[in-house]
């Protein structure tokens, strides 16, 4: 009985799509964290180059 | 000691209100306006809205409750009474009980007006015989409103946009109360008289009240933990 089959597919498609979207959002946040890590390590590099003895970490 | 504190706080609240009469009048007026709007919205289409009496009554009262609960702390804030109270050694649960009692009384007073008005506006069948049952259900619903309203208005109190936050927090939690209270009213006034239905809804309202009383008592201290 294929009457209504498109509804079942639609329901599961909606579920998968929204879950995927959520995972993408999580991934974006991870990327942002990665960028912050980059920025901080660059800050540290600059700190080391421009003068030695300040107590850093 | 506790009971005296409680009575003193309640008397303070009521005295403030009765002296200014702001909140009660505002609530009553608001309820009448909502009823009138509903009358215009629905009544022009159909003269006999008996079937919907439960919903019409409790939609009106739910919004009126939000208004009343939202106001219940305003008087104190404006008069800096709240700070004085917080410094005093009054346990928070006593404060909460006083608030809840005040809200309960406000709602009851407004309903003395609203319940007859609903009968006049919307019901073309037997209504006045069942008014006792309607009143009992209303009192139970008021208990629910008082208990949950005190909690949510406490949460909304110190937040930005307090007046917008309260409806957003309070109304979804009121939905079960509206469903049950409207159902109970409908069971005795909206069509064939069904006491077992009324009883079922009233028991539910009791359960709601007990549950929210427990939650409030358990968490109310944390609301004012400043």
């Amino acid at each position: 009985m294929s009457g209504g089959y498109q509804y079942v597919v639609a329901a599961y498609a909606v579920i998968w799509f929204l879950l995927l979207a959520y995972v993408v959002v999580l991934g974006a946040r991870t990327a942002r964290i990665g960028r912050q890590v980059e920025a901080i390590s660059r800050m540290l590099d600059r700190r080391e180059r421009t003068g030695g003895d300040e107590d850093g970490a | 000691m506790r009971r005296r504190q409680l009575m003193a706080l309640v008397r303070k609240d009521l005295r403030l209100e009765l002296r200014t009469r702001e909140t009660i009048v505002a609530m009553a007026l608001f309820a009448i306006v909502v009823l009138a709007i509903l009358q215009f919205g629905f009544g022009t289409r159909d003269d006999d809205l008996t079937r919907f009496v439960g919903g019409l009554m409790w939609v009106t009262l739910a919004f009126t409750a939000v208004l009343g609960v939202g106001r219940s702390y305003v008087a104190e804030r404006e008069q800096r009474v709240l700070d004085g109270l917080l410094v005093s050694p009054v346990p928070r649960t006593v404060m909460m009980s006083a608030k809840a009692i005040a809200i309960f009384l406000y709602m009851t007073l407004v309903e003395v007006l609203v319940i007859p008005l609903v009968g006049i506006f919307f019901v073309k069948g037997p209504y006045w015989e069942s008014i006792g049952w309607i009143a009992i259900a209303a009192l139970l619903a008021n208990l629910c409103i008082a208990l949950s309203g005190t909690l949510f208005s406490g949460l909304a109190l110190f937040t930005r946009a307090r007046d917008l936050i309260l409806p957003v927090l309070f109304l979804p939690a009121l939905v079960p109360v509206v469903i049950a209270a409207a159902g109970a009213t409908h069971a005795v006034a909206g069509g064939p008289h069904d006491m077992s239905e009324w009883r079922g809804y009233c028991l539910f309202l009791l359960a709601y009240a007990i549950l929210f009383a427990l939650v409030s008592v358990a968490t109310y201290d944390a609301v004012f933990d400043d």
Partner: protein, 239 residues
């Protein structure tokens, strides 16, 4: 489910391993259950193909209840211990629970359209209840955005507890109302389900629960990292 708390010298964030493990488990279960539901589970005699929607619809609903329960417990624990971690757990759980609840409403609506021709019915208690649930927990985020720091966490904890109390109340009020209006209530899976169907319900439920845990772990790892980074940036600025 609780992540390891040892600070690993190989610079692994605590909880990272748990997140990866649960992610794999969840993926496997979700794929398995999807295939099973579509290809293996037997067709329902009464409703036909449309009944297959319920496997995930019910599983997601139950998983969201678990999420809200976790948030309620996290709220209680936050109020007891005032440890920020519990606020993290609570917020993440409610975010996932809210997402799941929206999915319940959407899939329920699709089912309604398939069964009755309209996008909404009042005769399915679960659908109606979850609309209320969505409203309750969407308000959680409104509350959070209007308070800061300590107050935000305290109020969120209290609301998570009160909200979780509202859920069964909402469910039962709708159920009681339905029982008076439509005496023959339940349109969904009944008590007498053949084992061949039941097993796919169980697999779907396991999939959704694993998904919740995986998403929660990932969220917590992310938050922990963000917090560590903020502390680090602060120290660098002040040094």
């Amino acid at each position: 489910m609780t992540p390891s708390s040892t600070t690993d010298s190989t610079t692994r964030i605590p909880g990272e391993r748990a997140a990866v493990v649960w992610g794999i488990i969840a993926t496997v279960l979700v794929v398995t259950s999807t295939i099973g539901v579509f290809l293996v589970a037997p067709e329902d005699a009464d409703q036909g193909v449309i009944q297959r929607i319920f496997y995930f619809h019910v599983a997601i609903a139950l998983a969201s209840l678990v999420a809200f329960a976790v948030a309620c417990v996290a709220g209680i624990l936050y109020l007891r211990t005032r440890n920020d971690r519990w606020d993290d757990v609570g917020e993440a759980s409610i975010r996932i629970g809210l997402l799941f609840s929206v999915l319940v409403v959407l899939t329920g609506s699709i089912w309604a359209k398939a069964s009755w021709g309209t996008w909404w019915v009042w005769s399915d208690p679960r659908l109606v209840t979850y609309l209320i649930v969505v409203l309750i927990y969407a308000a959680y985020f409104v509350l959070r955005s209007s308070a800061e720091d300590d107050r935000r966490m305290r109020y969120s904890a209290i609301y998570a507890i009160a909200g979780f109390a509202s859920v069964p109340l909402s469910f039962y009020s709708v159920r009681v109302a339905e029982s008076f209006v439509h005496p023959v209530v339940f349109t969904t899976s009944g008590a007498n389900m053949p084992d061949s169907m039941l097993i796919w319900f169980v697999v779907s439920l396991a999939a959704m629960l694993a998904l919740f845990i995986a998403l929660l772990e990932v969220d917590l790892v992310g938050r922990r990292s963000e917090r560590a980074l903020r502390r680090l940036a602060l120290r660098l600025e002040n040094a």
